[in-house]
């Protein structure tokens, strides 16, 4: 790999040990993908997890004198201050949570603690080279925004934030962004939830392909949230980092353009029946519930508004906790705009800075939950809480009854 003099200095330790470690990671990655050089990135998003290994890496860099050149936005871990008062967490879990916040603050990250920075707060432009980790964010910045990112890990994204560069390979290169698989879908999904189910279904078949999704009948432009759910779920059941929606996403103005003149190597046909079967397959059977959990990925302000319209004058059952995971700025908007009062009056709570896959939720484990997100279901299941999958309006019905 060819390095500039400045990059060589970063690698040989002239700029300190932290920068050197970060550079070692990027050079090792570049080598393994046969990248010819490093290129500058103008944005980064670090999918910190709050797990030991991840926090250790950030601490290693910052204690080695590294500071972010490109200010990265950050994923949520959990709202240590707020939730540790409400739920049981061990001393070690709380300390790790606090240490995570501390090291990311010291390294100069933007402590947004939100997993959807691409919707608000850290939005790349068309053609911009960026380093975005978080499996739901990467496909969105590539497909919907037309920016360029590989599927970074939180470690490699932080390394790019610290050095300002990433190896040139994968989705940074034109030809690797071409569609290779045609997905023909019979119908347009109704709401974000249905786009998620569709994404989950498609993701199972994609493998290493770049899917081009073609709707037979697209009667309106999908919302950002709908496209976000599509990509998030394709990246849950598969490892999709780039896709196209014909006539919608910027690099798919026509079939010719989306496939860069080539013939699709594979074709997948998706019928209404396939989606109905997928929905049924995913969900647990009903019963009494102890938790309704929405916001995986984080709910946007628009989704909070939708929630407030549906939940107005209703009441969450006393045996049920209803949590919506979202960003601190969406909560502030909801407060100013009058939605928060309606939501809280119904017995539903909003929490910032928090992911579904964290120790603060363990008191619900063993019980049954309801969510509108297959991704939430998938990760919570590993922690011992099964979930019933329902659309938003039905989640609210379940919250009121205490069962589904």
């Amino acid at each position: 790999m060819r390095l500039t003099d400045n990059e060589k200095q970063m690698l040989d330790g002239t700029h300190g040990e932290g920068v050197q470690k970060a550079m070692e990671l990027l050079v090792a990655l570049g080598k393994s993908f046969d990248a010819e050089k490093l290129i500058p990135v103008s944005r980064a998003h670090v999918a910190l997890s709050g797990q030991e290994g991840d926090t250790y890496w950030c601490q290693l860099l910052v204690d080695g004198g590294a500071h972010c050149k490109v200010i990265p936005s950050t994923n949520p871990a959990w709202d240590v201050e707020g939730l540790s008062k409400v739920y049981d967490v061990t001393k070690e879990e709380k300390e790790l949570g606090e240490r995570t916040i501390d090291v990311y603050r010291r390294i100069g990250a933007r402590l947004s603690f939100c997993c959807t920075p691409e919707l608000a707060g850290n939005v790349p432009s068309f053609g911009e080279h960026v380093a975005f980790s978080e499996s739901s964010a990467t496909p969105y910045v590539n497909a919907v925004l037309g920016a360029r990112s590989n599927r970074e890990s939180s470690c490699s994204a932080l390394a790019s934030a610290v050095t300002g560069v990433t190896p040139l390979y994968g989705y940074h290169i034109d030809e690797n962004r071409a569609g290779t698989m045609l997905v023909e879908v019979e119908h347009q999904p109704d709401e974000a939830y249905d786009w998620g189910i569709l994404g989950y279904y498609i993701g199972k078949f994609v493998g290493n392909h770049v899917p081009v999704i073609s709707f037979r009948d697209l009667h309106r432009r999908p919302s950002p949230e709908e496209l976000l759910y599509l990509g998030a779920e394709m990246a849950t059941s598969g490892c999709v980092g780039m896709y196209h929606v014909l006539g919608i996403t910027p690099e798919a103005v026509s079939r010719e353009v989306a496939f860069q003149g080539k013939t699709p190597q594979e074709i997948l046909l998706v019928t209404k029946k396939d989606i109905a079967r997928q929905e049924e397959e995913l969900s647990e059977k009903g019963g009494k519930i102890n938790l309704v959990m929405l916001g995986c990925p984080h709910y946007s302000y628009e989704q909070l508004r939708e929630l407030s319209l549906l939940i107005k004058n209703r009441r969450v059952h006393r045996d049920v906790a209803f949590w919506v995971l979202t960003s601190f700025d969406a909560i502030e908007l909801a407060r100013r705009s009058g939605d928060l009062e309606v939501i809280e009056n119904a017995g539903c709570r909003l929490v910032p800075d928090t992911c579904i896959d964290e120790p603060c939720w363990k008191s619900f484990e063993g019980g049954l939950g309801v969510t509108d997100s297959p991704k939430c279901m998938y990760y919570r299941d590993r922690r011992g809480q099964p979930f019933v999958l329902r659309r938003l309006s039905e989640c609210i019905d379940a919250a009121e009854k205490g069962e589904v």
């Binding site: 470690k21 070692e24 990671l25 090792a28 990655l29 080598k31 393994s32 993908f33 999918a47 997890s49 797990q51 030991e52 290994g53 991840d54 250790y56 890496w57 290693l60 980790s133 890990s153 939180s154 470690c155 490699s156």
Partner: protein, 140 residues
Amino acid sequence: MREKEYSCRSIVKGKVAGEAIVSKEAMCFYLCDPETGTVIEKNHPLKGRSIANKILVLQSGKGSSVVQVDGFYQMSVKGNLPLGIIVGEIEPVLVSAAVVVETPMVDRVETDPFEIIADGDWVEIDTDTEKIKVTKNQDS
């Protein structure tokens, strides 16, 4: 000659030597017991055997970036990581994890590493010269 040298490519730098353990299957280090370095993944060919402080000849890595890095980290805290890793098929998550905990790693050995290295052989890795030296086990 029971001792032979082969060229390789340096991915994560370092100079180490130890006894070889070979896994033709990919591995997720999250599925090792950090206390002992023992593989605990169901149906893995190395299940029940320890990779701690050995030279691991590994086909490839698998699993999400978060869990792989955490797995490496937990093992490194307990001093139970392999000393070095010779990889058949390199992939980004495995590379990231090895850099984070500073485990020397090489790939592209001039001859298929699974042909030239067996369990119990003595293997030296030197990433400065980009060479590995294999001394066959006298008992094999």
